[in-house]
Symmetry: C3
C-alpha cells in the first residue's frame, strides 16, 4: 500500500511523495519510515519535528512543521480511525467465507452470502445470518436469533434465543446477549422466578466488549440503539433502553428499565439505579452512582477522590458526623447573629 | 390455553368468561385481547380501566374496577411469576431429552432419565447429572461435578471439577463455578500460589446470572444456600457462605470468607470486604462498600449521590478537609461557649 | 505420601514421627490424623493445642506448644502454599499429555512435548504451544498466539490472535485476552472505530481469574509483568502496563494507558482512570477511585464507609452542601476573630 492508496481511501490530499510504501500505523515517536503516524492531540506536537514516519496525518495548520509527507484532514483522529481499519487483520472483509466442518448449524438456519462460521460454533434452529456475517469459534447463536450484514461474533460469544442484532455489529469474546433479566417475586418465604419473556434488540454499528452482559426483557424488549459502543465487563439489565451514539466504558452497570438518552457517555464503573431516565447528552464520570433521573445535559459525578489512607480514615469518620456538624454550624451562626 | 387452564395452574378463581384463549402475558397498557395482564403495583392502577387484556391478574380489592375478566389472588406479583413460567420457551420441561452427537460425554459420567446435552457440550469423568438436567451448547461440566434434578446450564457455562449443584438450578451463559480462589503467599520477593483444594456447593433453586464467578474454597468449601438468586457480573470469592433466600444484584463483589445471612439483599455493585459476617435480613443499597460486620437487620448504605460535576468538584475537595473542618468547628464552639 | 516426603519437598526438618501417611491439608481445627495443618496467623494459635492433625507446619517459635509432629519453617504461609501444590488435582504436571480427537488444531500450529489439548478446544493457525502446555475444553487459542512452558488455560478461555503469554501462566475459565480496546473517534455525529492493532504480552507466572478481560493495545502493546496475579471480573484496558509482582483483586477496572508499578496491590473493585502512573509499592483499598497519578508508595483510599441508610441519607445530603458549609465556617471564624 502506498501513501497514494491511503489518501484515496481517506479521500484527502497528500503533500509530499505519495509513492512511499506503507505497512502500518504508529505513534509519532515510534513510527519508522514505512509507517504512518498521526497528530490528533496537541500534547504530541512536540514529537512532530523528530518523527521518522513515512507520513503524518494531521490538521493543515500543522503541515508546515511536519518534516515528512503530510495527509491533511480537518479531524485527524477520525482520519486515524479510518486509516486503522485498513490494517485490521480481523476485519470482516478480510476473512474467508465458509462453514468449518466442526460447526453445528441447524438445518433450518438461513445463511446469507459470504457467511463465515468458524470451528465448533453452534447456530440454532431458525437463526438468520445475513450476508458476510462471521461467527467465531465456540460462539453460540440461539434459536431464531438474527444477525445483520457483516456482523462479527468473535470467539466464545453467546446469543440466547430470539436476539436481534443489526448490521456491522462487533461482539467480543465472552459477551452474553439475551440471558434472563433478574426478576423474582417474593411470597414472604422465598423467591418465585419471573420468566423473562421479552427480547433484546441491538441496532446497527453496535460494539459490545468482552465478558459484558445484556439481558433480555421481562415482557417488552431491552433496546440498544444504533452506534452504541459498550466496553468490557458491562452489565445492562432487562428492559433498559440506550439511545443512539451513546458510549459506556468498562464495568458500567445499569439496573432494570432505566433509559439512557442519545449521545451520552458513562465513565468506567458508573452505576445507574433502575427505572431512571437520563436525557440526551449526559456524561457521568467514573464510578459515580446515579440514583435519580437527570433531565439536563451536562457532566455529573459522585464519590470522593483518593487520598492517603491515613487522611481518609479521619475524613471518612467525619462523614458519618456530617449531619450533626451541619446542625452545630447552624446553631453557632444563630447564636453569633442573634 | 384458556383462562380456565391458567386459573387451574395458579389454583385461583376466574371472574368472567374462562373460555377465552390466551397466548401470552403483557402489561396492562400493552396487552391485547389474547394476553393476560397483571396489576401488582398501585402505580399502574391508572392503566386498569382502559386495558384491552383478555384478563387481569389482580388483588380482589381491585376486581370491581377491572373492565375485563379477573384472576384474583392475594399476591398478584407472585401470581404473575407463576403464570410467566407457562410461557417460557426455555423451561426445562419443554426441552427434548437426548445427547447431541457432537457432545463429548465421559464414559463413566452418570446420566439420569430425560437428560439433555446440547451441541459441543463436554461432560467430564465421574460427573453425575440427575434426571432431566439440561446442559447447553458449549458448556463444560468438570470431572466429578454433580447437578441435581432439572438443573439447567445455558450455553457456554463452565463448572470446574467437583462442583456440587442442587435441584432446579439455572446457570446463565458465561458463568464460571469453581475456579480457583485468589490465594497467594508472599515470600518478600514474590508470590507463591496456594492451590485451592476446597469445593463449591450450591443448594436447590439457585440462579446464577451471566458472566458471574463463584470460586472454589481454599481448604473448606464455598457454600451458596437454597433459593439464592445471583445476578450477572457478580464475583463470589473463596470460602464465602451465602444464606438461603438471599439475592445479589448485578456487579456485586464479595471477598474471601465473608458470611452473608439468610434473606439478605445486596444492591448492584455492592462490595463486601473479606472475613465479615452479615446477619440475616440485611439490605445494602447499590454501590455501597461494607468493611465491617453487620449484626443488626436493616438497610445500610455508603457513598454519595451524583450531582453536577461543577458542584461535585467543590464538595469533593472539601471532603479532603473534613477532619480539619470538624476540628475548627469544635474550636469555634468552645470559644463561643467558653 | 509421608511426612518425610513432604519435608523433603519443602526442604525443611520434621520434628516427630516422619513415617506418618498424609492424604491432604486442612485447618488446625478441621484436620484429621491423616492431614497436615498450618499455623500462619496468630489468630489461630488458640487452635494449636487441640489439633488432631498428623503434623503442623509452623514457625519454630511455636514448636513447643504443638501437640503433634512439626514441620518447622520461617514462613509457614509460604510453606502452606508450597505444600498445597502437592495436592492440586489440576496441577499441569498431573495431567496426561495428548490431543483430544474433538479438538481442532491448525496444521501449522507448533506443539511442544507433552502438550495436552482437551475436548473441543480450538488452536489457530501459527499458534505455538511450548512444552507441557494444557489447553482446557472449549478454549480458543487465536492465530499466532504463543504460550510458554507449562501454561494452563482452563476451560472456555479465549485468546485472540497474536497474544503472547509466558511460562507457567494459569488462565481461568471465561477470561478473555486480547479483545479490542475501547477506542473510537467522534466526528460530531457518531463514532468511528479505531482498529486495535497492538498486542498483549503477559510475563511468566501470571494468573488471570475467571471472566476477566485484558484488552489488546491500540498501537503498542498491553503489558503484564512477571508474577502478576489478577483475580476474577477484572478489566484491564488497552495499553495498560502492570509491573512485576503486582496483585489485582476482584472487580478492579483499569482504564487505558495507565501504568501500575511493581509490587502494588489494588483491592477489590478499585478503579484507576486512564493515563495515570502509580509508582512501585502502592496499595489502594477496596472500591477506591484513583483519578490522579501516585508518586509515593503507601496506602490510598477513597469513598465512605457503610452506615445505616437512615444516617446515610442525612449525611449524603450534607455532602452536597459541604462547600457551602466550609464557607460558612470560614465566615464564622473571621467574625469571631475579627
Amino acid at each position: 500500500m502506498t501513501l497514494a492508496d491511503i489518501a484515496r481511501h481517506l479521500n484527502i490530499p497528500v503533500r509530499g511523495d505519495d509513492a512511499i510504501a506503507v505497512r502500518g500505523l504508529a505513534t509519532l515517536k515510534d513510527a519508522g519510515p514505512d509507517q504512518v503516524a498521526f497528530l490528533a492531540n496537541r500534547a504530541y506536537l512536540k514529537d512532530l519535528a523528530s518523527t521518522r514516519a513515512a507520513a503524518v496525518l494531521l490538521h493543515p495548520e500543522h503541515a508546515k512543521e511536519c518534516p515528512v509527507a503530510c495527509l491533511e484532514t480537518a479531524n485527524p483522529y477520525v482520519g486515524y480511525a479510518q486509516l486503522s481499519q485498513l490494517f485490521d487483520p480481523m476485519a470482516v472483509a478480510r476473512l474467508e467465507a465458509g462453514v468449518h466442518p466442526s460447526a453445528i448449524v441447524a438445518e433450518d438456519a438461513v445463511l446469507g452470502e459470504g457467511v463465515r462460521i468458524e470451528a465448533n460454533a453452534v447456530v440454532g434452529s431458525g437463526a438468520m445470518l445475513e450476508d458476510r456475517v462471521v461467527i467465531g469459534p465456540g460462539s453460540i447463536v440461539g434459536a431464531d436469533s438474527r444477525l445483520g450484514e457483516e456482523s462479527h461474533l468473535h470467539a466464545n460469544v453467546t446469543l440466547y434465543h430470539g436476539v436481534v442484532i443489526g448490521k456491522r455489529a462487533i461482539m467480543h469474546s465472552g459477551c452474553v446477549i439475551g440471558a434472563d433479566g433478574f426478576g423474582f417475586a417474593h411470597d414472604g418465604a422465598g423467591w418465585h422466578k419471573i420468566a423473562q419473556l421479552g427480547g433484546v434488540i441491538l441496532g446497527d454499528d453496535v460494539e459490545v466488549g468482552s465478558c459484558s452482559s445484556i439481558d433480555r426483557g421481562a415482557l417488552g424488549d431491552t433496546v440498544i440503539g444504533n452506534d452504541v459502543k459498550i466496553d468490557s465487563q458491562v452489565q445492562i439489565a432487562h428492559n433498559v433502553h440506550i439511545g443512539d451514539h451513546t458510549a459506556l466504558a468498562g464495568c458500567v452497570g445499569i439496573a432494570g428499565s432505566t433509559r439512557v438518552g442519545r449521545h451520552c457517555m458513562l465513565g468506567g464503573g458508573v452505576g445507574l439505579s433502575g427505572h431512571l431516565t437520563l436525557c440526551d447528552g449526559v456524561q457521568v464520570t467514573g464510578m459515580s452512582l446515579v440514583t435519580n433521573s437527570i433531565h439536563t445535559p451536562g457532566v455529573y459525578s459522585s464519590g470522593t477522590g483518593a487520598m492517603t489512607n491515613q487522611q481518609w480514615r479521619k475524613n471518612a469518620v467525619r462523614f458519618k458526623q456530617l449531619d450533626e456538624m451541619a446542625k452545630r454550624l447552624a446553631r453557632l451562626e444563630k447564636r453569633q447573629l442573634g
